[in-house]
């Protein structure tokens, strides 16, 4: 369990749950943005950084480019099925 407060965690919870008062339109837009980014996987590197900091404190994490290279190459070995 990591403590709250690290900025990289902010993306994990939907912005609708955010405590700061913002306009309804902004909130909907932020929710849509959060959903699309999470669905497409844009947030994968942020998640990795948090995880890495907890599990290997003090070690240098992979660069963004290297992380994505490995992430996509992982699918070379683990193909996912698409249905009809």
């Amino acid at each position: 369990m990591e403590r709250r407060g690290s900025d990289a965690n902010a993306h994990r919870s939907a912005p609708l749950a955010s405590a700061t008062p913002i306009g309804p339109l902004r909130r909907v837009l932020a929710a849509v943005r959060w959903y699309v980014r999470a669905l497409m996987g844009d947030d994968a590197y942020d998640i990795y950084l948090v995880r890495h900091a907890r599990e290997h404190p003090g070690q240098e994490p992979l660069s963004l480019k290297e992380f994505w290279r490995r992430r996509i190459d992982e699918r070379d070995r683990n193909p996912t099925m698409r249905c009809c």
């Binding site: 369990m1 403590r3 994990r12 669905l39 497409m40 070995r77 698409r82 249905c83 009809c84």
Partner: protein, 758 residues
């Protein structure tokens, strides 16, 4: 978990906030009123669709009947399955939590996972089947799609997902081996591989039928390859990780490609992009092979992003389009083709062939491959399986209802002219003309939904319809995709763009379907390659095939897999009888037989656990599915009617050849030989599929009888590991779940940690 009577917060560690909430169903006054209202609206909609019918029922009634039934089934039937059979425990860690490695195992937000699961299960299947089945009228298809998903498809997806969650995310094949023993396991594996082969081949025929002789469609689709390559390079070298950004660029380029397709079709390049079915089949084989051996980042991954983006976007757009345009239904509730079995899109009577033709959307065995093996490794909590498994399948069913609507709102003359093979619409000529097609459809004796005979169609109906969507001809464009695209352009042009955008919408829809199908073909070829090399690596001396990065093995296995589906594809596109009519039933049978395997595994586990009282929940869809598929297989194998029985047709053509005759629709001796060869192959495949399933069912019967005699046997369920995370069960957290979220927040903890280590 039986039905709780009060709220319980579940803990696994006194130092942590609760990891789950059990609460009684919300039966407050407003909640009761809402569900009573939904049930009431649903009943009215069903009454309008099924009983009142009228001269031209409005499509909005279909949408309402579907959505109200889904909500009610999700709230009550899926909940019953949850309380009485599956009994999820949120104190138990899911495979995603237990084996979290930040890669294939990782707890994923339920709303995001719902999107992933939906994108993985829904493809061209729910778009094509309902369009073909519309030839029997709108009512049987609508009823089967909506009722089928609630009692069969949703049940299968939900229960398989739950079983796999309890078994460390193991695949259906592995679970079959564990629960049914080695014979059942091997039959299940062979079944999965052969069924994938036929699936890819038939989807290939659908896409080729939509693209053949259409320079616009071929150009647009061909452009998706350079677009994907560009996206792949962009994502790898220029701006890694910006998936949404590159997908938006890709969609922009795609729209440009569709517009440019219109220019190409009117330019001197049109000839270059006008390809025959056979050429396209060979190109598709080459594409499948390339996608299987090339690195994923270059072609497969970017295409997948593009496809996901288009899938979700277009389906939402079509739903809005139908609600805004509110089109009227032109097809009667029932046509004579369901009774006499002489339908032009596919042969056979309503029972069993309607239930075979509409597989995806009502009951699709293929989903069991996603619900086991992929999604369980990402789900946060056991109780979320109802939302993801059952809810995901309901969403696919809704896509199928929309596809049905696009087919039944078309002018019936157009619908039958598009979906009858050229052998019928041509009236003896090699290439059908608007005149011959009009003569054919006017001879069908079509009536309006109210039973009034339709006035005869003028040949100009076909030429104008083709010109309207920028095609040379729309006659005998079988396979379902062109009909769907035509219906979609009919809906969408009323909402956006008017007549001037009709052709754009048609080609947009063709592209959208072709994109899905290519994604299934490339991903399917790759998965089949892995399954095949894994299977043969168990043979002594071939263990080298276990390593997927061994290039020789990868190339060899890819070649074998592509040769498998490629030969059926080439057979289908050159078939003088029209590949879709002969092969689509085989595709449906294969898919439904896979469902029979999945439901057999589920039923066996329920029986082993001694839940005899509730065994009907998987038992009813299993028995129904077996009756449908085995009847259909029986008719395909033994029917003396040549239009239905593969071997009867085979014998007919053999006898004709031996006496030196050429039988229509064959035109040459070569055609005769092709029919003789194809009918034999299709017959043998039918026998193979049915036999594999009978073996699986018999193996399960032995296991079940043994278990009942000994008063229940252990299943392969893995022991509990206590969960240490919390997440709500459904999209919106309940009041009690919000309290728990607050407890986590007050303790300064995040409820779903990001990839913890064990």
């Amino acid at each position: 978990m039986t039905m709780p009577t009060e709220i319980h917060k579940l803990r696994t560690d006194p130092a942590l906030p609760p990891v789950g909430v059990e609460e009684p169903p919300n039966w407050s006054g407003p909640n009761k009123a809402i569900f009573a209202g939904i049930a009431g609206v649903g009943a009215i909609a069903w009454f309008m669709v099924a009983i009142v019918r009228g001269e031209h029922p409005n499509a909005v009634w279909f949408v309402l009947a579907a959505v109200c039934t889904y909500v009610t089934a999700f709230r009550f039937y899926a909940r019953l399955i949850e309380y009485k059979v599956l009994k999820p425990r949120d104190t138990r860690a899911t495979p995603a939590e237990e084996f979290d490695n930040g890669k294939d195992f990782m707890p994923t937000d339920r709303r995001v996972l719902f999107g992933h699961h939906f994108a993985a299960i829904a493809g061209a299947g729910p778009l094509v089947g309902p369009v073909l089945a519309a030839q029997m009228g709108y009512l049987p298809g609508t009823m089967w799609i909506i009722v089928g998903v609630c009692v069969a498809g949703g049940v299968q997806d939900y229960m398989v997902l739950h079983l796999s969650i309890r078994r460390r995310g193991r695949s259906l094949g592995q679970m079959a081996r564990d629960e049914l023993g080695p014979v059942g396991g091997i039959a299940a594996l062979l079944g999965v591989l052969s069924i994938m082969t036929i699936l890819i081949a038939v989807l290939g025929i659908v896409v080729i039928n939509a693209l053949a002789e259409s320079p616009w469609g071929v150009f647009s689709l061909a452009m998706t390859i350079p677009i994907a390559l560009f996206m792949g390079v962009y994502l790898r070298f220029i701006r890694p990780g910006n998936v949404t950004e590159v997908s938006l660029i890709g969609v922009g380029l795609l729209l440009l490609a569709i517009i440019a397709g219109g220019w190409v079709s009117e330019s001197s390049w049109a000839g270059t992009f006008t390809l025959s079915k056979l050429t396209l089949a060979w190109l598709l084989c080459a594409y499948g092979f390339a996608a299987s051996v090339l690195p994923v980042w270059l072609l497969l991954a970017p295409r997948d992003y593009l496809s996901t983006f288009m899938k979700v976007g277009t389906i939402v757009m079509l739903a809005l389009g139908i609600l805004i345009a509110r089109p009227e239904v032109q097809m009667p509730a029932l046509t004579r083709f369901g009774v006499d079995g002489t339908g032009p899109a596919f042969a056979g009577t309503l029972f069993p062939f309607l239930f075979i033709t509409i597989a995806c959307g009502a009951l699709s065995g293929f989903h069991a491959l996603i619900a086991s093996g992929t999604t369980p490794k990402l789900i946060e909590k056991e109780s979320q399986a109802r939302l993801i498994g059952y809810g995901g399948m309901l969403t696919e069913s809704f896509v199928a209802i929309m596809a049905l609507i696009t087919a039944v709102i078309l002018d019936q003359h157009l619908y039958f002219g598009m979906n009858a093979p050229a052998g019928l619409t041509g009236g003896g000529a090699a290439v059908p003309t608007p005149e011959s097609a009009a003569a054919y459809v006017n001879g069908l004796g079509l009536t309006s939904p109210g039973g009034v005979p339709l006035p005869p169609a003028d040949p100009s109906l076909f030429s104008q319809a083709a010109a309207g969507v920028g095609e040379r001809s729309i006659i005998s464009r079988t396979g379902g995709a062109p009909t769907l695209a035509f219906g979609m352009s009919e809906v969408m042009h009323k909402v956006v763009g008017g007549e001037s955008l009709r052709a754009f919408w048609y080609h947009f829809a063709i592209m959208f379907e072709a994109l899905f199908i290519l994604t299934t073909i490339d991903a399917g070829t790759r998965v089949a390659r892995f399954m095949f090399s894994d299977a043969i690596s168990n043979i002594p001396g071939l263990s080298k095939f276990k390593d997927p990065s061994w290039r020789v093995g990868a190339w060899l296995c890819s070649f074998i897999v592509v040769a498998g589906w490629g030969s059926i594809l080439v057979m289908g596109v050159t078939d003088p009888l029209g590949g879709i009519n002969t092969l689509f039933p085989l595709f449906g049978i294969a898919n439904q037989l896979l469902a029979a395997i999945a439901l057999t595994v589920v039923f066996t586990v329920v029986m082993k656990q001694g839940l005899y009282k509730w065994a009907w929940i998987p038992g009813v869809p299993l028995v129904w599915d077996l009756i449908v598929t085995l009847t259909a297989s029986w008719q395909k194998i033994f029917s003396p009617v040549p239009a239905i029985g593969y071997f009867a047709n085979h014998d007919l053509f053999v006898a004709a050849r031996d006496s030196g005759k050429v039988l229509a629709p064959a035109k040459t001796q070569g055609d005769m030989e092709a029919v003789i060869r194809n009918t034999m192959t299709q017959g043998v495949l039918s026998v193979l599929f049915a036999s594999l399933v009978i073996i699986v069912v018999l193996a399960a019967a032995v296991v079940v009888i043994r278990s009942v005699r000994s008063g229940g046997t252990p299943t392969s369920e893995e022991p509990d590991v206590p969960s240490k995370i919390f997440a709500p069960r459904s999209f919106v957290p309940t009041a009690a779940e919000k309290e728990v979220l607050q407890e986590w927040s007050d303790a300064g903890l995040t409820p779903t940690r990001i990839g913890a280590h064990h």
